[in-house]
């Protein structure tokens, strides 16, 4: 049974990683696309319609970036819980020496860096078109 639980945790960790990658890539890709679109709009004729379109894209950036951030935070918490369970399992089996608990801190740092990357591409996508305009 313990092997089944171990396998389940490993699968959960795998799907957790995939979900996080999707969040990060989607947010960064959308930020870059919006940067291009809004920059194009900003350098063209300025009227009410283009302003509305621009602000709609800005709203999209904000929503997607916040969704990505919350998703990444939840992913980090989930990963931590799964790894805590895994560590406990290893301890019970007497093999905890093979897993360094400091890896958990590394994961936290990595998630923070992902969020920073999403945040900064989002900020660039917001500010640059307004400067061009």
């Amino acid at each position: 049974m313990i092997e089944r639980v171990h396998e389940h945790i490993i699968n959960e960790l795998g799907s957790n990683t995939r979900t996080d990658i999707i969040f990060v890539l989607t947010a960064i890709l959308l930020n870059l696309i919006t940067l291009g679109v809004n920059s194009g709009i900003a350098s063209a004729q300025n009227d009410g319609t283009t302003t509305i379109v621009m602000f709609t894209f800005v709203a999209l950036i904000i929503v997607v970036n916040f969704v990505a951030e919350i998703g990444l935070i939840r992913g980090r918490i989930m990963r931590q819980k799964l790894l805590d369970g895994l560590l406990k399992m290893y301890k019970d089996q007497g093999v905890e020496g093979y897993y360094d608990p400091s890896l958990l801190n590394d994961y936290k740092t990595r998630y923070n860096l992902f969020m920073l990357a999403v945040l900064f591409t989002g900020l660039v996508a917001i500010i640059i078109p307004f400067i061009i305009r």
């Binding site: 900003a42 350098s43 063209a44 004729q45 300025n46 009227d47 800005v58 904000i62 970036n65 916040f66 951030e69 919350i70 935070i73 939840r74 980090r76 969020m115 945040l119 989002g122 900020l123 917001i126 500010i127 640059i128 078109p129 307004f130 400067i131 305009r133």
Partner: protein, 168 residues
Amino acid sequence: MRTSGKILRLILYVAGLMLVLLPGTALAQDEKTGISLTLIPGDYYKEVIPGEENILHLEVHNTGDKPVTNIRLSAEEPEGWYIEFSPAVIGYLNAGSLQTVDIAVTPAKNPARGEHRIHIIAEANETRKITTAFLKIEPATSIWTWIGVAIAAIVIAGFFFVYRRFGQ
């Protein structure tokens, strides 16, 4: 008698040939009429700020041999732009003399970015001349920049709040 007739015909032939080949020397010279329009260097391609008056300096030069009268200055400008000449009419310009004209160009408040072309037209009773200036829109420090910065600041604050709120 026959030889002298030949000589007379030859002289007449040469004289006729000279009349045809050298009309400038043989005929009275026509008087030239013309004006030139010259913007001072730097005004042919100038950066202007939307909604603000920008002054260009134009020199109207009578390049002909006789006076030019009633030179009316006008412009073909982009829509929403306002162009004013000072003076708008030059009543009389002597041959070889020149007159400086100030052109006040006020671009539209919200023009498309990039280059805009204005045609400056001088129409006198005797002649007509056109020149072109290229004006590039240079945006003033825009309120949009501050709006962008404000949104970015709100996003940073929001990120920080979400991180603190959900990150525990």
